[in-house]
Amino acid sequence: MTREMSHAGSAPHVVIVGGGGTGGAVAHDLVLRGLRVTLVERGELTSGTTGRHHGLLHSGARYAVKDRESAVECIEENRILRRIAPDSFELNDGLFVAITAEDEAYEPLFFESCLASDIPARRVTREEALRLEPNLNPELRCAVQVPDGTMDAMRLPLRFFATAKRNGATIRPFTEAVAMTIVQGPSGRCVTGVSVQDHTSGRRYDIGADLVVNAAGPWGEKIARMADVDVPIQPSPGILVAVRGRFCNMVVNRLHDSGDGDIVLPQRELSVIGTSSWVTDDPDHLAVPADHVEMMFREGSAMIPAIRSAQTRATWSAARPLIGERGASSGRELSRTFKCFDHAAEEGVEGFVTISGGKATTLRAMAEATADVVCKKLGIESPCRTREYPLLPHTAYYA
C-alpha cells in the first residue's frame, strides 16, 4: 500500500508521541505551519521528565566554558521565551558564586566565556553579593550576575499545548502508544500510523499518520523499537531536593566546572537544590538515593548555609534523555544539546523521526529543528513562526 492522497489539498497529518515540553512545542510549531497534528501522551502532560526538572530558565552561563554550542543556544532561547511567554518566569537574574580560592581562580575564564557566548555578565563584589542575597555564605569571594530565571516547569510548556490546541491541534493525554503500524512497500518500510490505548475508556484504536514524531524523552528508545528502529538515547537521572523557605530570590549557582548540587533556585516559597547524575536503562524506576540527597544538602549549604537546617518538602529524580552511546559512566560527559534523527536516512524506515536531548530552556528550538525536518520530509514549505508568536496563558488549555 502506498501513501495516496485521499483528500486532495488536505494538509498532512502528523502524530506526535510524547506530551512533554518538546512534544508540546512541536505541536505548536507544526500547527502554525498549517499541518494537522495529533499528540498522544500516556499520562498527564509533562508527567515525564519535563514537569520534574529544576525549573531553571538557563542563561547558558553554566555551559559557557565547556559547551559553547549549548550556551549560545540557551541565551538565545532565554530571550525568545521571555518575549513569547511573559509572566511564566520569576525574572530575578542569577549569581555564580565563588566560595573557594579555586572558584575564584576560575572566574576570569568563566566571565570571558560568558561574554564570548553573548551572555550578558556583570562582575559583583563580595559585599554587593551579600546585599543582593543576604543568605549567601559570607565566606564567598566574588560573584558574577547573569540573566538566569526561574520557570514553572509544568506551566510554561502548558502554554505551548494551550496555543496549539486553540489553533487546532488534537491533544490526547492518558492515551498510550502501544504499537506502530508499519507497511512494507517497494521502496522500503514506512510507518503509517500509531496504535493507541485510551486509558480513560480502555478502548484501543488506530491513528493514521503521514509522519510520526517520537518526542518521548527517556522513553524514546521504547517508542523507537515499536517502529523497528534504534536510537541512542541514554536516560540519565539526577536528583532534586525542595526545602521549605525562600532563601534567595536570584538563582544561585556555584562558580566552577559543572558539578553536583551546584544550583539553588527559588520557587514560590520553596528553595530547590539540584542536581546529580547517573545512568539507567529504565526511566520508569528512578531511585532517590540517600547519598545523593545528602550531597544536595552539603553542596547547597556551601552556598546558602541556612539550607542545612531547612525542612525538606520533597525529594525526587528526573531522567534527562541524553543522546550518546551506551557505556557512558555518569552522563555528564554526554552533550547537552539536542538532535533530530530521521530514521529514513539511517535505517530505511520512512515516516518516523525522533527528537531527543536538549533541556527545558531549549524546547522551542528543539521543536523548530524537528518541524523543519518534518516539513522537509513532507514537502511542505512553511517557515517557522514560533520565535515571535505570543503564547496563550496556560489556563487557556482548560477552556
Binding site: 514537569g51 543576604p134 475508556s201 532534586l240 525542595a242 520557587q267 531511585a287 538515593p289 525529594t315
Partner: protein, 253 residues
C-alpha cells in the same frame, strides 16, 4: 551505578501497605475500588506508590502528576478522606496499613484518579489570575542592576484541594469557590494589570464571597499557604466597609 538505600523504594523494604484505589473508566456503570499491596520505605510518597502500581501492576491506572514537589498542583487527591498532594504525602505519615486513594471531589471525573479541571479554571478565569507577584521574602535585600524589584510566582498552585474540601462547593455549583476568591483578594491587594474595583464587583455577590459559611476547610487543605478562607474574610470586610461608606458617606457627600 548501583544505588543503596533508595529512600522512596516500593519493594523489598518489608513494610507492606494495602492501597485501595478508586477506579472508573468512561462507560462504566459505577466506580469501584482496586486493591494493591506494596512495600514502602521511609520517604515513599503516595505518588511513588501509585506510579509504581501503574508501572508494575496495572498500566491502565491513570493519575495526574508532573513536578513531584507540590508546585504544579496536578496530583491533588483525597487520601484516607483528607485532601492532600500525593507527591509530598509520605505513606508512613498516614499511620495506616490501609490507604484509600480517591480523586478530588467536586470536579468532573475523567477516569480513575483524573479529574477535569474545566470548572475550576472557568471560575478562576472569571476573576482573572495574575501569576506573578512582588516577592515578599527577604525584604531587606537589594535588587541587582537591571531588576526593579524581585518578583515571584503567586502561592496558588491551582490544585483544587480547597474546592474539594469546601462543603459549599460540594452542594452548590454556582459558588465562585475559595480558589477564585483568594485570587480575587490578591488582585485587590496587588492589582498589577487587573482592575480591583471590577474584581470587587464580581465578588460582592451572593455566589461570591458571601456564599462562604466559614468552615475554613479550604485553608486547612491548601498545600501552598494561600489561606483562601482568610482572604475571603478580607474581601467581605472590604466589601462591608464600602457598603457602609456608601450608605453613610453619601449623606455627608
Amino acid at each position: 551505578m548501583d544505588h543503596h538505600n533508595d529512600t522512596h523504594a516500593t519493594e523489598g523494604t518489608g513494610r507492606p501497605i494495602r492501597f485501595r484505589v478508586f477506579r472508573y473508566k468512561q462507560g462504566d456503570r459505577a466506580p469501584y475500588f482496586d486493591e494493591f499491596t506494596l512495600e514502602v520505605a521511609e520517604e515513599t510518597t503516595v505518588l511513588d506508590a501509585l506510579t509504581s502500581i501503574r508501572n508494575r501492576l496495572d498500566p491502565t491506572l491513570i493519575l495526574r502528576s508532573s513536578c513531584f514537589h507540590a508546585s504544579c498542583g496536578t496530583c491533588g487527591m483525597r487520601v484516607n478522606d483528607r485532601e492532600v498532594m500525593a507527591c509530598v504525602t509520605k505513606v508512613i505519615d498516614l499511620k495506616s496499613s490501609v490507604v484509600k486513594v480517591e480523586p478530588i471531589a467536586n470536579q468532573a471525573l475523567v477516569a480513575d484518579l483524573v479529574t477535569d479541571m474545566v470548572d475550576f479554571y472557568a471560575k478562576f478565569n472569571a476573576i482573572g489570575l495574575a501569576l506573578v507577584r512582588d516577592s515578599d521574602w527577604l525584604p531587606d535585600a537589594a535588587e541587582p542592576a537591571g531588576i526593579d524589584s524581585y518578583n515571584r510566582f503567586e502561592n496558588c498552585i491551582e490544585c483544587g484541594l480547597c474546592l474539594s474540601a469546601c462543603p459549599i462547593v460540594a452542594s452548590d455549583p454556582r459558588y465562585l469557590g475559595p480558589a477564585a476568591l483568594a485570587a480575587a483578594w490578591r488582585a485587590v491587594e496587588e492589582p498589577r494589570e487587573l482592575d480591583p474595583e471590577a474584581v470587587l464587583r464580581l465578588t460582592d455577590d451572593p455566589q461570591g464571597s458571601w456564599r462562604c459559611h466559614v468552615a475554613f476547610e479550604c485553608s486547612e487543605a491548601c498545600p501552598s499557604n494561600v489561606d483562601p478562607a482568610g482572604k475571603i474574610m478580607l474581601l467581605r470586610r472590604r466589601q462591608a466597609a464600602e457598603r457602609l461608606r456608601s450608605i453613610f458617606g453619601g449623606r455627608h457627600g
